[in-house]
């Protein structure tokens, strides 16, 4: 459940808000639930709130794991 999407922070706004971008679509969201967000960060947005930041290193690791497992599948 809980539709939420990683979106890139493109601008910090007043009132603990930020503008995020998703595929060329921008939207103002609330940063009330997160800390230390900077422009360029990806945050996971749910009902107009950032729930957390995306950890780029962990994302890389997961993708690497996919590739490795897929390689096994492909070679099967």
């Amino acid at each position: 459940m809980c539709l939420a999407l990683p979106s890139r922070v493109v601008e910090l706004l007043d009132d603990d808000q930020a503008k995020v971008d998703l595929g060329g679509v921008t939207k103002a969201i609330s940063l009330s639930l997160v800390e230390d967000v900077a422009v360029g960060d990806y945050v996971i947005v749910h009902v107009g709130y950032a729930l957390t930041k995306v950890d780029p290193a962990e994302a890389e690791k997961t993708l690497a794991l996919f590739a490795e497992m897929a390689a096994m599948g492909a070679s099967a």
Binding site: M1, C2, L3, L5, S7, D21, L22, G23, G24, V25, T26, K27, A28, V45, H46, V47, G48
Partner: protein, 349 residues
């Protein structure tokens, strides 16, 4: 020939039921209202064809007539406004019979207090659209309703056109193995309009695709007079329109997810709102179904036209007795692309 009956598990509740927004949403509730009330009451061969236009014979040949009401909010949106839309939309419904549009009528229902400046902007835009299309607004009507009994302005246009000899295009003509094409990217209009709804609060550079498609159609039928079906995927988007045709023609369909042209901003907005772009409205795109041997010719004719540059073959009809529209997903699985259930509402789940 009559509209094939869709299966509505429960008949309309004509005793205590009420009209709700789903009855106008382009989905199955609307189809049911149209079938069980309107088509049943008016009970004539022309309406029962189930097309977006009625075709009939006159001494000089075959003609079509179509109508649509435009109740869009906001009235002005990126890429158009209710005025140009009301010209394009009705020209398109006429053109989807392969017909050459002759002219339009326009009925305005204006809410008391509506700024004359906005009305002038709308009428000017409408006139420009009609002139650009070469289709005159031949007759009109103006009504004013009390404040609070309208929504700025509603426009209902009707259009008529003459079908060239030898052309026989209708929603019931698709056959197994026929090829399904679209003239460009899906969902641009709906997302452009939604981007103006303050409550949704997003921004995008996307423009409505609102356009008159009759010259594109003319180019297509010149290239391939054997085209079976044309229809513009407006309310309910590609999904609703394919289901309508599948049901009307009693065929199944399989389309390919990766073949459907979609702009990244449309995808982005849909992700954000929890919407499926296949259900988002278009106002300047068409679906074409043609015999397999014509597919490449039609595609080439579309791509050669300024309004068909992103045209694509997206799938094929088959003999599925359930008339399902299915989609091969990008993951290699299969899903149904169903009728829209009610309206598409932004969701959180």
């Amino acid at each position: 020939m009559t509209l094939p009956r869709r299966s509505h598990p429960r008949p309309l509740d004509l005793n205590s039921g009420r009209v709700d927004l789903t009855h106008g949403g382009g989905g199955r509730a609307m189809a049911q209202l149209v079938e069980e009330l309107f088509v049943a009451a008016f009970d004539n061969e022309i309406l029962s064809q189930g097309n977006d236009q009625g075709a009939f014979s006159v001494p000089g040949g075959r003609m079509v007539m179509s109508t649509d009401g435009y109740v869009i909010s906001p009235l002005f949106f990126p890429g158009g406004d209710i005025g140009s839309l009301s010209v394009h939309g009705t020209i398109n419904d006429v053109a989807m019979a392969g017909a050459v549009p002759i002219g339009l009528s326009a009925g305005f229902i204006i809410e008391e207090g509506f700024p004359l400046a906005d009305l002038a902007r709308i009428v000017t835009s409408m006139a420009a659209a009609a002139k650009a299309a070469g289709v005159p607004v031949m007759t009109g009507d103006t009504k004013v309703v009390e404040k609070g009994k309208g929504d700025g302005v509603f426009i209902t246009t009707a259009g008529i056109g003459m079908v060239p000899a030898g052309i026989d295009i209708s929603g019931d003509k698709a056959r197994p193995d026929d090829v399904i094409l679209v003239s460009g990217s899906m969902g641009d209009h709906g997302i452009a309009v939604m981007s103006q709804r303050e409550s949704l609060g997003f921004e995008t550079a996307i423009l409505s695709d609102s356009a008159a498609l009759h010259t594109l159609v003319a180019a297509m039928i010149a290239a391939a007079p054997g085209i079976r079906v044309l229809r513009d995927p407006t309310r309910g988007g590609l999904a609703a329109t394919l289901n309508e045709i599948a049901s009307q023609s009693a065929v199944g369909m399989v389309i390919s997810e990766t073949a459907v042209p979609l702009k990244p901003q449309v995808l982005g907005a849909c992700e954000l709102l929890g919407l499926d772009p296949l259900y988002v409205a278009n106002e300047g795109k068409l679906i074409c179904i043609c015999p397999p041997e014509d597919a490449e010719t039609v595609l080439a004719a579309m791509r050669a036209h300024p309004l068909g540059g992103d045209a694509a073959i997206i799938g094929q009809c088959d003999a599925d007795p359930h008339h399902f529209v299915r989609m091969k997903t990008a993951m290699g699985g299969t899903r149904i692309v169903d009728w829209l259930a009610g309206e598409q509402l932004p969701r959180i789940c």
